[in-house]
Structures are given as C-alpha cells and as structure tokens.
Symmetry: C2
Subunit: 282 residues, 2 copies
C-alpha cells in the first residue's frame, strides 16, 4: 500500500483510527468463552481449538463491527505468542480474515523487533512473506542496519519506535545527547536510509505537544500514535499537532475500543467506540 492509497482510505472513512488487537483471552466476554468451549471453529480452511478459537471469534466480531470506522488493524504479537502455536494460528487467521473481507485495510504487526542484519532479514521475511502484514513496528536500539531489510519490500513499511507512550520511555528516549533528545537522533538517522513510502515512526499520544517539533523533523512520514484512551492521550490533540497534508497519522486505540463493553454487546460497543475515536476531516 502507498501513502496515497492510505490517504484515500482516510478521506473515504473520515478516520485515522487504527484498532489495536491486543486480545487477551482472560478478558474476553463470558459469552465468547462459553460458546467456544462447545466445538471447533473452521475459518479460512484452518481449524482452531481451545483459547485460540475464542480469540478468533472475538476478533471476527470486533473487526466486522469496527471496519467501517477505521483504516488499520494492529495485532500485538505478544498477546498471540503467549498462547503458543494456537495463538500463532489465531494471528494468521486474523490477518487472513481481514485480507479476505476488508482488503483495503492497513495491517500492522506490533512486534517491536530489532536485531542484527541477518536476523533482521529473517524477521522481514516473517512479517512480509510468511505472514501478510503491511508494516511492522521496530525498536531502533541496535542501529539503522537493523531496519534496512524491511525497507526492501515495495509497498511495505518499517515503523520505528521514536518516542513511546509509557512512563519509562523517558529513561533512554529522552537522554540528552549533545543538546537534543535521543529520539530526534533516531528519527533523523532512520530518515537518512528511507523514504516516507517505506518508513513511519511511533510517537506516543501522551506527548502530543511534542508532535509540533517532531513534524518539523519529519513532515512527510506517517506517524503511528499509541496512547490514546486507556493511556490518557487525546486524539483531538494528536490531530491538531500531528496531522500533515495526507493526514499522516494512524492513531491507535486498543483497550478503549475492543473492551468498550465486556458484556454480550461487546461488538456493538466496540463499533460505537471506534466511530467516536480519531475522526478526521469532518
């Protein structure tokens, strides 16, 4: 997908929302858990059993309810990996389901990978060939080399963590490096090896006022912005300070959308939450 195609989706849906699929079996509605105890679930030719079946059923319902109001989905790998092989089946099944039913969606693997060149090449293959993601989040600590293999896939994106939304992000990201914070160095060095057509940056919503300065450094890159909702950030402020001529934003909400209700009405509630989050250009 190109940034122009992504912008077309933003205009069509009047939204910059990315729904984070941080799906924890323990937090699923009782209705889903109960129904999924009763039998296997076949989907896209794959058979799911156990907890993965419940996660898949939940994701299907959430995706169907929220798809009109978002432009992107972002499964968080940790939540699937913790279920072992079954979890990886649920992850692949989720990506397959989105591709089959909502082919214009931008699908992000939230994986925060980052390793030396030959390992990075394997991770790029994992997310862009073995699985069918459009983008993958990466951690920059081991340097620019760790990102290069991800840039070689036309229409795919590396999304490098610059400034995250968690309290301890200040520990190293804000380190004073010769008068400027480290995260600025990260953005500049990553920009030097990439273009806005293969590189985005993670910038936390809890630092919305910093978006003005960051936009001066990287005016044309899309920014993936977590931290709205459960973590306290404001989507309106992010759009105010962070938008560019193509929208330029993917504002993520995970818990605020997918757990909007824990009752039988969970899917409907997620749809309503999505329709009220990160509206753009109305």
């Amino acid at each position: 997908m190109t940034t122009d195609q992504l912008y077309a989706q933003i205009l069509k849906k009047q939204s910059v929302l990315c729904v984070g699929l941080d799906v924890d079996y323990e937090k699923l509605p009782e209705k889903i858990k109960f129904e999924c105890r009763r039998g296997d679930m076949a989907l896209m030719g794959k058979l799911f059993s156990g907890k993965a079946r419940a996660v898949m059923a939940f994701n299907k319902a959430i995706i169907d309810a929220t798809a009109p109001y978002c432009i992107s989905y972002k499964p968080n790998l940790a939540f699937y990996e913790q279920l072992g092989i079954e979890g990886m089946k649920a992850l692949e099944g989720t990506v397959d389901y989105i591709r089959a039913h909502y082919p214009d969606m931008f699908i992000i693997a939230d994986a925060k990978r980052g390793d030396i060149g030959n390992t990075a090449r394997m991770y790029a293959k994992t997310f862009f060939e073995t699985m069918d993601f459009d983008a993958v989040t990466l951690s920059p600590y081991m340097g620019t080399e760790t990102v290069l293999p991800f840039l070689e896939y036309p229409g795919k994106f590396a999304i490098v963590v610059a400034l995250s939304s968690n309290p301890s992000s200040k520990d190293f990201q804000n380190a004073d490096c010769e008068g400027h914070p480290l995260y600025e160095d990260v953005i500049k060095k990553m920009m030097a090896i990439s273009t806005p057509e293969n590189m985005m940056f993670v910038v936390g919503a809890t630092k919305a006022e910093k978006l003005t300065d960051i936009r001066k450094i990287c005016p044309d890159n899309f920014l993936l912005v977590p931290g709205v909702g459960a973590q306290g950030g404001s989507a309106e402020e992010v759009i105010k300070y962070g938008a560019n001529a193509k929208g330029g934003l993917l504002i993520n909400s995970s818990r605020g959308v997918i757990y909007a209700s824990t009752g039988d009405d969970f899917a409907n509630a997620a749809g309503i939450a999505a329709s009220n989050t990160a509206r753009y250009g109305l």
Copy 2:
C-alpha cells in the same frame, strides 16, 4: 537456574560456550534436506512436517554433538518465526529436546523483545510459562518498565542488550549522553531494578577492550557475548577482559559452530568447533 548452578556447569565442562541455534533451512546440509523429504518425524509426541522436520533433525544432531562442550543453547526466534506455525513447532520441539536430554543446559530465547508493561507481561508469559526458556534477550529502548515483568520469575533471567556486536550498534548505543555512552546508562538503570540473579547483559565481542570498563560498572552480572567467530570477535580476549569470579560469561557462537561443515559430517564438525571455542579455566 541460579548463577551458582551455572558456574557449576562452567567448571564441570570447562566451557563458557553458548551455541546459537540460528538455523536457516536454506543452509542445511543436503543430506538432512533429502532425508526429511521422505516422511514425517515424530519427536516428544509431536509430529513435524516440511521444513520444520529438517530443522528439528538438524538441531537434534547439533545438540547431541555439542552438548559436552557447551553450557547453553540460544535459539534465535527470527529463524523459527520465518517458517510460520511449523517453525514455532520446531522451536518448541528443540527446547523440549534439550530439557529432556540435557536438563542442566541454560536455554536462552534470543528474541530482543521490548514493549510497554502490559505487553511485556505477555512476552514474559510467552517465554517463561508457555515455553520453557531460562532467559530471554530484551531491547531496552522503551525503558526499565519494559523489563520488570521478566524479573518476577525466580531462577529466570532478563538479558538486556547493552552494547551489540553489529556495525550500526554505534548509531545510538554509543550516543554521547552528558559525557558517557548511552549503553552505560542502560546498564546502570537496569541494575537499579534488578540483581545478578535475574539480570544479564548483552555485550558484543567485537568490543572486547570495552569489557574492562563494563566490568567495573557491573562486576557480578553474567554477560552474554555474541560476535565471536563469523563476526570477528576473539573468545580469548573476551575471557581475558570479561571474566569474573563465577566465570560470568556466556560466549555465543552460532554460524562458527552449527555451519562448521555443510557436508555429511556437519554434526561431527560442529562438535569439534564447539570443543575448540570458549574453553574456560583449563
């Protein structure tokens, strides 16, 4: 495993070698690929098919040949993930095989994970509960909070990347932060939330001369040292500058051991390479 138990293994085997299982199907000996085309392989109650079968067969042979000469194995997650579900079966099968046949081995998940608190908790569960690793490598960029959940498992270790062995490690790890390099800050802040019984650090062998300074900062922590062999580092220099009273080192070699020969004698060659790498206290 405690550091005393690890030291007992170092003394028993007179080795600080960790064998990196960065196993790429494309690089496997033709003999293994050919034999594995002929049928399924059952191991530890699991059935393997396709490329994963070849990877498992290779790993079994490598492990049996090198186990007398090493104290640790370190599967690199990227190489298994790129094979999809089958790769994850090979990974779990490899860990199960080591546990069943070589119960004193220290098994490291080389995963370089690093994410906010609730996600980090899921990754800790993945590697320490769903799978049976003793340790997992972590990337520090998102701060100390991202490491905390891994410290809550007695006898398990977080291994935080401080100074890696790749050329672009200098991009950010060596950033001049008020007169000292960033990686020193990483070590100090991680030490403040941990003990040598739950925290180790990655320090690349290609920077062996820096080990003296790093040892002053963290005298008691084990160091996982990659970069020996294919990346050019010297195990003798690492031991000279980096050892402490408990050995304190896990010197990793991946390609230098597992691909010592690509012929039918690959396992024997790996055993010989292992017996000649990172010998300690002879």
